[in-house]
Assembly symmetry: none
Homo-oligomer: 400 residues x 2
């Protein structure tokens, strides 16, 4: 649905919406039992909620396409992820809660190892310790270039973020990482004429970084890729006329919520902290994005039992969420992370929408297989937000 | 599906199609019983028909979007309602069975009350009696303006239709209704250069109406909005190569059928009259749009039991429709009108398609919940017409 049309139809109300994103929610059956994580876990509260909800499956990008966390969440927030790509550099910056400014160009940096001839021998510099990464980033901060301010932030191990800040910069810059060994890093090139300044700034930065790193043991050079600006995206609160808050302990999800203009609330590191934050701010917002990370972590580790346990911990907390009395509650996720894949998957993600007007279907268990037969059908993730708005009686009729 | 492609594939046959639109068909469970109107009603004929039909749910505009009657029916007729918006003025004219000509610009008019300084004190003039509205419209018919013929038709209470008829008029005119009290009506402005003449005609009309209404008690001024022309829409009979007739007692639905070029048959006010009309003209057409209004009326009134009774009355008449032996029979609606909402809703609408080639599914009850699991899936309303054409063996193969 066109965001402009949704904006035209959006109307004020006093109703409240909670969108729970269980990261990596969807799974696959463990071959030994034929049951998925959701089918294995004891989830009395989720199943009871599914019974009085409309259920379905969300597809975030397209059939067979595995979403990253960025596209997955943009879909949940109502955006077509294919229309609003988020560059890797921007995601890396969001992932460390770095506040990008409009016009900033961000890139992913790696410390790497080069030989005496400048040829790459290790693209990740032996995954150096994070505290060494922090020290090397300190050194790089002394670099200045002609057309931009340089901002450097360490991430983890060999990874850092480079931000170019200044007037008239473009993210259409080729990467310096040849993604191969035995060759030197590449020169950055402008991929269109608007990026000449940015490419020149990148090449200056690399040349001036080189002598500073010469003695830094194995981490004696940098590779840069994923140059991009923040996408120029219609902001969520304005589009849907909602005071919107994000409750997320992990930086990446805070960053994604900030990207679309949500207020990002201070919260502690646990899901209990997140729920306390939600309770504390209940009066202040119309819409809450509540993020639960543990499901994805266990799935990425390939730990089926840990994912089952993470689902059960969420289920135990669900009554606290329900106790707030949201007019509309949605539970879904940003992508599947089947434990047997130990990675994000393309499988569509169970979703439920609960409200006084949701129209419960025959689904009485919140599982992949059951939700496939629900009243929501299998729908693009960006169609969820219009449904939540409608259930909150916040959308006017289209046409008389 | 592209209408041009459908036109290319459409081929003649002697088969007959009936499309029954139960206005506001879809509903929601009544909280006390957990059952919707369709689940509560005794509908032996509809359920038996559903058992031998392919079933599904229709979405007319998009997930979460509540359709008005215009978009709802355009969807049933095979048009994408987002590509063919129908303005409010046009709908108001259709709703009184006014025959708009190509190029006419129609607007909704309100009689309103202004104080001695010309400031609006009541936008609806106390919802004056319809017979007074008729008399005031008579007065306004004496107004002439420079660039257009003026046609005025009363609607109901404070509402009337204004039509500007003439060469080179555009509907891109801003409304004169400020939608606020304590301020005077607005001047009409041309929203693009092509609308200068129409805007001038509107402003002349308003200035010349003012003295005529000065003594008309509380209804001493007019407000105009929703200026628009008939949409330039490919006509239904040509697109589908069908002799198409509409059997509808209510003016709005007659108007919508006329808009797409159907023959609108004279009929009496009851559904029994409509069925008699259908029978009388059975030999003359290939396609019949049969409209049943009572379901929507009861839903809009929030009267669950009345909607159940309306469904049962339709069910009792269904054998008469079946007795005609249509090759293809579809039963669906233009939107949901859940009694618990007492308004149009966004919920997708049950649909069944019955023919010798429909491929019956597992659905054996014509309800929202059951149809969600049917073979048609959840599909855009405009996809119904190609299915009916195919089931009538009136569409050629695509590609060799």
């Amino acid at each position: 649905m066109d965001l402009g049309l949704l904006h035209d139809l959006a109307q004020p109300n006093t109703t409240k919406i909670i969108l729970c994103s269980l990261d990596g929610l969807g799974g696959l059956p463990r071959p030994a039992t034929g049951k998925s994580e959701l089918e294995t876990a004891r989830l009395p509260n989720l199943h009871a909620l599914a019974k009085r909800s409309a259920c379905g499956l969300l597809r975030h990008v397209g059939p067979g396409i595995t979403p990253g966390s960025g596209p997955g969440h943009l879909g949940l927030f109502g955006y077509d992820p294919l229309q609003h790509p988020v560059g890797r550099g921007v995601l890396e910056a969001l992932g460390i809660d770095f506040h990008l400014k409009p016009g900033d160009v961000a890139a992913r940096g790696n410390f790497c190892t080069v030989d005496a001839q400048g040829r790459i021998t290790d693209r990740r510099a032996g995954r150096l310790a994070t505290d060494l990464c922090v020290k090397l980033c300190e050194k790089l901060r002394s670099v200045t270039v002609d057309f931009a301010e340089i901002v450097i932030e360490p991430v983890k191990e060999h990874r850092f973020v480079l931000v170019l800040r200044g007037e008239g910069l473009s993210g259409r810059v080729s990467e310096t990482d040849p993604q191969a060994l035995g060759v030197p890093p590449l020169h950055a090139r402008a991929l269109d004429p608007s990026a000449e300044r940015a490419a020149a700034a990148v090449n200056q930065f690399v040349e001036r970084a080189r002598p500073l790193l010469r003695d830094a043991a194995q981490a004696n050079m940098v590779l840069l890729r994923g140059f991009d600006k923040q996408p120029d995206i219609p902001l969520f609160p304005g589009t849907f006329r909602l005071r919107a808050a994000a409750v997320a302990a992990y930086p990446m999800y805070r960053g994604l919520a900030r990207l679309v203009g949500m207020d990002v609330l201070d919260t502690g590191p646990t899901f209990a902290d997140e729920i306390a934050t939600l309770e504390r701010h209940w009066a202040d917002f119309d819409f809450f994005f509540l993020h639960y990370k543990d499901t994805d972590k266990a799935g990425e580790d390939g730990d089926f039992d840990a994912k089952v346990a993470a689902l059960e911990r969420f289920d135990a907390r669900l009554p606290d969420v329900l106790a707030l009395g949201p007019d509309v509650l949605a539970v879904s996720g940003d992508h599947s992370t089947p434990s047997i894949l130990a990675a994000h998957g393309w499988q569509p993600v169970p979703a439920l929408v609960s409200s006084a007007y949701c129209g419960a279907d025959h689904v009485s268990r919140f599982t992949e297989r059951d939700c496939a037969g629900g009243a929501l059908g299998i729908l693009p993730a960006q169609d969820l937000m219009p449904l939540l708005m409608a259930n909150a009686l916040r959308l006017a009729k289209y046409g008389a």
